[in-house]
Structures are given as structure tokens and as C-alpha cells.
């Protein structure tokens, strides 16, 4: 029995393995739509979706927009600059005003952790979290899971190491929850200054040296070093970071097996990942981008029409 998703997608922490698999199983056949001459299905015809982005994003916003358009939804993009948000309107007022124009779904990216939940509790529309602060980025987690499943056939028993700036990473958190629920072994690797203090309590292994991580892992998910945050003194220098933690061809060549390389983008080539790794035979970084559209189409499909009442019923099933 598959359990439905409910009204909103806020994170992977509170989803069951069954619900995560439902998204992945739905996304798989949807990939074919993007290969058609006419890349569009009529499923969400008449649905209105607002992409509410309070933070810069290229890849995620475009991916959501393609997903929405390929499902035939009507979409409106609201970016902070140029919106009434910059005039001091609160998040709830912005959303309620949009809802008064009879929308069906909101995709929200916000710098504050918990913003998506805050919104979901206050409006009737379906809410999809496209990244909230350092909390979660569930569709990124799901597309990483799909990419791993495509390659290895199954997630259970897989050894995945998340490398780099775990402290500031919502991608890391969504990945850890999703991977653990599907039975993977999860590790993190990075400078201690960039690992959350309580990371061990999530049940993950910690590697202090990238060589250990490479020796252990089937796949590395290499996080972007958030250069804009690095002025605060988390690491001595980018050069030093690359020398100690950079994923390089030389280091991978010493691994006992081929290690699959994932990166959520945008990459800092020559910092956390070298170019010949990013463009190498074992990189699935562009597959991740392709899968992102399919996963988001699946989420839109599975949430569409789910009312708050249905969401309550879904909790009983889950």
C-alpha cells in the first residue's frame, strides 16, 4: 500500500520510506516526457503555481518552472527584488494576497529555516519547500536519491559520504534523512568547523580526512563551499581547503572501487571538486539536473488537489 504525500512537501525528515519511494517511482516514468517532441502533459491544466523566491536561485527555480510548465500549470514568479516584500510586507501577508488571487500551490525558497512550514500552516494552498535556511531542500534530496537509485538499482546498503560544508547545508540534511530512511549507510566528511556539533546524533559516520571517505564510499555527494559565508573564518583559505578536502583525480585513483560523484551545484571548480572529477566518467552531476525536473514534476503531481483534510487522512495511513 502506498501512502499519499499529504498537502505539503516541507522536508524528508517526516516522510516515510514508502512516501519517498512513491515520489521516486512516480518520477521515473515522468522522465520520458522531457524527451518528447511536445514536452508537455495536460495533468495540471488550470492549476496556478506561484514560485516565491526570497533568495537567489537559478537552477532550482528554473527546474521548478520547467516541471510546472511540462505539467501544464500556469506559473508566476515572485522574486524579492521588485516585489512588495522589499517594501516590508510580511511573508504571511504576501502569501495571503497571492492566495486571494486563487492560486493552488506555492513553491517557496527562503533564507529562514522553518519558513516553508510557517507558510504551510497558514494557507490552504499546497506548499513545496525549495530550500529554507539551513533546514531542508527536499526536492534536491529526492533528486539525489533518484540519481543514486538509477545508478545502483537500490539505495539500501549503499555507502554515501556527504563532503564539505555540512554545517550550512540544507542539501546535506535532506540527503541524510532520505538516505537513512531508505537504508543507506551515511557518512560526512569536512573540516570540524563546518560540521554541526550534533551531527553524530543523526547516526552518521564522521571522516576527518577525505582519503578515508573515498576509501569507504560507493558515492560522494560533494557540497558547494558557500564562498559568501567563508569570510567568517571557517577555513584558513580556499587553496588550503582544496589541498586538504578537495576531491581530485589522484585521490579517486587510489580508491578500491569506482566512486560515483554527485554535486548539487553550482560548483566551485578547483575548490571542493576538480574539473577532471566533475567532468569525469563517474560524474552524474548532469543526470542530477535532468532528474531534478522529473522529481519536481512528480511532487507537483502527487501534491496537486491534496486538501488539508486529505493530508490529515494521509498521516493516519503513514
Amino acid at each position: 500500500m502506498t501512502s499519499p504525500l499529504g498537502k505539503d512537501l516541507l522536508g524528508l525528515e517526516h516522510l516515510t520510506a514508502g512516501q519517498i519511494n512513491l515520489v521516486l517511482d512516480t518520477a521515473t516514468p515522468l522522465k520520458e516526457i522531457s524527451e518528447r517532441v511536445i514536452k508537455k502533459v495536460p495533468t495540471l491544466r488550470g492549476a496556478t503555481i506561484v514560485n516565491l523566491f526570497f533568495e537567489a536561485s537559478t537552477r532550482t527555480r528554473i527546474s521548478f518552472e520547467f516541471a510546472e510548465k511540462r505539467m501544464s500549470a500556469d506559473t508566476v514568479n515572485v522574486a524579492v527584488a521588485g516585489s512588495s516584500v522589499s517594501k516590508g510586507e510580511t511573508l504571511v501577508d504576501t502569501a495571503r494576497n497571492l492566495e486571494a488571487m486563487k492560486i493552488d500551490m506555492v513553491v517557496i525558497r527562503h533564507p529562514a529555516s522553518g519558513a516553508a512550514l510557517f507558510l504551510a500552516e497558514r494557507i490552504e494552498s499546497n506548499v513545496i519547500n525549495a530550500g529554507d535556511g539551513t533546514h531542508e531542500h527536499p526536492t534536491q534530496g529526492l533528486l539525489d536519491l533518484l540519481t543514486l537509485r538509477d545508478h545502483f538499482g537500490s539505495i539500501a546498503g549503499l555507502k554515501v559520504c556527504i563532503c564539505g560544508d555540512v554545517l550550512h547545508s540544507r542539501v546535506a540534511r535532506s540527503n541524510i534523512w532520505g538516505l537513512m530512511k531508505l537504508g543507506a549507510h551515511v557518512a560526512v566528511c569536512g573540516p570540524r568547523s563546518l560540521l554541526p556539533n550534533a551531527i553524530g546524533e543523526m547516526g552518521v559516520t564522521i571522516f576527518d580526512r577525505i582519503e578515508q571517505a573515498i576509501e569507504w564510499a560507493d558515492a560522494l555527494n560533494i557540497l558547494r563551499l558557500q564562498l559568501e559565508r567563508m569570510e567568517a573564518g571557517y577555513i584558513p583559505s580556499l587553496r588550503e581547503y582544496n589541498r586538504v578536502f578537495g576531491v581530485t583525480r589522484e585521490r579517486l585513483d587510489r580508491a578500491p572501487r569506482d566512486v560515483l560523484i554527485l554535486h548539487p551545484g553550482p560548483m566551485n571548480r578547483g575548490v571542493e571538486i576538480d574539473s577532471d572529477v566533475a567532468d569525469g566518467a563517474h560524474s552524474v552531476i548532469l543526470d542530477q539536473v535532468t532528474n531534478g525536473v522529473a522529481v519536481r514534476m512528480a511532487v507537483l503531481y502527487l501534491l496537486s488537489g491534496n486538501t488539508p483534510e486529505l493530508a490529515e487522512a494521509a498521516k493516519g495511513v503513514a
Partner: protein
């Protein structure tokens, strides 16, 4: 009209019916030129495979075989409960200029075929589209009629016609269950 659960097609009759449908398809198309079979998920796919096998045995030609999942084209998605599971759509060749035969297990309201026609149009412009069904149970809600029929069954709206195929259900059989049967 049958009153209790009864067999409409046994395994042997199932096989004979599929063979005859294959013959009719070749006859209507005057051979296999440009022919493409497209089965509708789920059991239409297996029936299309069977038909293709018969055609290959008769004519020595492997007809291109596709599968179509029409879930995303359904007209009742706004009203049905949890989202229905989406299956695979695979079309091995471009459909432009081809003679497409849609294959399904049961033809009832015609809504599935309406969705299938819409979906096929997104893949190109076939020279012709026709419809082959194992069972026509009547009860149309749209102006859609089959070109090749395995067997007609007059079934009241609330009765069930269950098509089973060996690949999915372990045996070939078509059974009729009146409305009050569990």
C-alpha cells in the same frame, strides 16, 4: 445476460481470440507496412505483445510495439482520491505517417481511449489510428468505437469484467462479475 460470476473467455478461447484479432489487424492494414501496435498500461500492453507475436509468426515481421500510460491525460484527476500510480510510456518509433493500432483489454466508457488519442497526438501525426480491444462491454460515454473486437459482452454499468493475463496475473482468463459480487 450472465447472473453470477462466470468465465467469458477461458485460456484456450483467449488465445484463439487474440490470434483472430491479429489476423483482422493485418487484413485491415493489408499487411504490416507502417503498422505500430501501442498497448495501454497495464494489460493492454501484454495483449499487444501477444498480437505482435502472432503477426510475427504469420508474416515474419516484427511489428514495432509501444506502451502508453494515460494517467496524466485522465479527465477525472481533479476528483479521484490519492493520485493514481503513473506507469511507463515507451514509443519505439516516430509515429508520423504510421498506422497506429491502440490495443486495450476492455473498452467501456471510452474515456481511456480519449486520453490515449490526446497523448498520441503529442508524439506526432500518424497516418491513421485504429482501436483493437479484447472485450467490448458497451456503456460508452463518448463517441468512440472499436475497429477490431475480441468479444462483445453486454455488461451493466456496475458489473465488473476482469481481464487476467499470464504475465501479470498468472493465467489467461476473462471473467464477468455482476454488480453485487464482492
Amino acid at each position: 445476460m450472465p447472473t453470477s460470476s462466470s468465465i467469458v473467455l477461458s485460456a484456450r478461447a483467449f488465445e484463439r481470440t487474440v490470434s483472430r484479432m491479429a489476423d483482422e489487424i493485418i487484413e485491415r492494414n493489408d499487411g504490416t507496412d507502417g503498422l505500430v501496435l501501442v498497448g495501454i498500461q497495464r494489460r493492454g500492453v501484454q495483449i499487444a505483445e501477444r498480437i505482435a507475436r502472432v503477426i510475427e509468426a504469420r508474416e515474419g515481421v516484427a511489428v514495432p510495439l509501444g506502451a502508453l500510460d494515460i494517467t496524466l491525460y485522465r479527465d477525472d484527476l481533479q476528483t479521484v482520491g490519492p493520485r493514481p500510480v503513473v506507469g511507463k510510456t515507451v514509443l519505439p518509433v516516430a509515429l508520423d505517417g504510421r498506422h497506429v493500432v491502440i490495443v486495450d483489454d476492455v473498452l467501456f466508457t471510452g474515456r481511456t481511449i480519449r486520453a490515449a488519442l490526446d497523448e498520441l497526438a503529442d508524439f506526432g501525426r500518424p497516418a491513421s489510428v485504429s482501436l483493437a480491444v479484447l472485450i467490448d462491454r458497451g456503456g460508452r460515454e463518448l463517441p468512440i468505437q472499436p475497429d477490431v473486437v475480441g468479444k462483445h459482452v453486454e455488461a451493466p454499468a456496475r458489473a465488473r469484467v476482469d481481464v487476467m493475463v499470464a504475465e501479470v496475473d498468472g493465467r489467461d482468463e476473462v471473467a464477468f462479475a455482476p454488480a453485487d459480487q464482492p
